[in-house]
Amino acid sequence: MIKGHASLHAAAIALAASLVAGCAASPSRVDPFEPMNRAFYQVHDAVDTAVMKPAIQVYIDVVPQPIRKSVSNFFNNIEDFISAINDLLQGDLDRFGNDMGRVTLNTGWGLGGLIDLASMLGIERGNQDFGLTFGKWGLDQGPYLFVPLLGPTTFRDGAGWIVRLYVGPVGYISDVPLRNSIYGVGAVDLRAQVTETSQIIDTAALDRYVFIRNAYLQRRRYLLYDGKPPPEPEEQQ
């Protein structure tokens, strides 16, 4: 019994020591797991180059642009509904009206979300998700994480992803091939939407890992503060 405790203590000390060592090697507060994240990023980038990019190129070459736009609109309409749920959780009735109005309009009059009539009328997307709701509730963003195939996130946003997965609706489709096809098309659509961004990052970045991390964290901060983030202290690292 006592022996068990001792080894537990030893393990805890070893863990603490390795965390301290990790921090010393990479003193960044936001990205304490940088070595691991960088390794995951390399894996992600390799898969992206070998599989995703060629697949996206085929998708863009074969599927006409209006259809691709409709696919984006369809998935965006679902996310607008998720955004409306989060508006409620945040107590933002103003934005809830906006997002729910978008969903009603686009689902009812825009052929089930295939046409984004609301954007044409200048009603902008709310872009809220569970990670942002947790943030508005006061949860700390926690360490940055890069997840292969899924991309950049933080502990808080990752928790948001998990909640999002349970909310559905695609996850509740019982026909497995249909469900997986929808997930697949969704992934292709998502990747196709960032094709231009990823090409720009290839030119602009000095170190793509750092560029993506900074851009992600800046974007999330911007959304968390509803487009009006307070100025960041310059000496942040």
């Binding site: 642009q65 200048g122 030119t203 000095l206 900074n214 800046q218 911007y222």
Partner: protein, 211 residues
């Protein structure tokens, strides 16, 4: 008599000076508002892109020419580089500062060329400008509606200079170019000093791929 002549001469000089001041001030009075300027430049660049079949075909030299002539004179690269350098700017020698400005400028030209090559009839909505009379630093906000995907918000940080309004930051969907580069520059300087950063920038401009 001599004293009289001197007074007249002084009045004459004063008039000349006053006239010069007024003439100098005239363009400043007629200076266009920052949002009007952003709109004019954007439309000018996009019109040139649309009208040029070589650019449509992806001719990089032509794209760069349009950017050099129409876009770049409206940017303040010295301010941009200084902001991206943050506290490291003062640590750089004048020679290093000059090289940094040049390389950063080239990098942004390359980035802009890439972005413009992908231009596909996007439409730009200009949001109302929030600006008070004496402001010398404003954010011009636009929303770019793309043929595919979601609209992208692109804002321009503009400062008033003696030479008219100049752009010193581009903010895409809340991601500031200057802030993003500040962290990248910091990282490079931490690893290889200011000369290391200059070298990395120069390498990227020579087409060496990023890590």
């Amino acid at each position: 008599m001599n004293a009289m002549r001197q007074i007249i001469r002084r009045i004459g000089l004063a008039t000349l000076f006053a006239a010069a001041t007024v003439l100098n001030a005239a363009p400043a009075l007629a200076q266009e508002a920052p949002d009007v300027m952003v709109k004019r430049v954007a439309q000018d660049v996009l019109a040139a892109v649309k009208a040029d079949p070589l650019i449509q075909a992806g001719n990089q030299a032509r794209i760069r020419e349009v950017i050099e002539v129409k876009l770049l004179p409206n940017f303040d690269f010295a301010r941009m580089t200084a902001l991206a350098m943050g506290k490291n700017w003062r640590a750089a020698t004048p020679e290093q500062q000059k090289r940094l400005i040049d390389e950063f400028r080239s990098l942004l030209v390359r980035t802009y060329s890439g972005a413009i090559s992908q231009y596909r009839n996007e439409t730009i909505d200009y949001k109302p400008l929030r600006m008070s009379a004496g402001d010398t630093d404003v954010l011009v906000r636009t929303n770019v509606v793309r043929a595919t995907g979601s609209p992208v918000q692109i804002d321009y940080g503009m400062e008033k200079t003696a030479d008219g309004w100049k752009c010193y930051d581009v903010v895409v969907g809340g991601v500031s170019l200057v802030t993003n580069y500040r962290d990248e520059f910091n990282e490079q300087i931490k690893n290889g000093g200011i000369d290391g950063l200059v070298k990395t920038l120069a390498d990227r401009n020579k087409g060496v791929a990023a890590k």
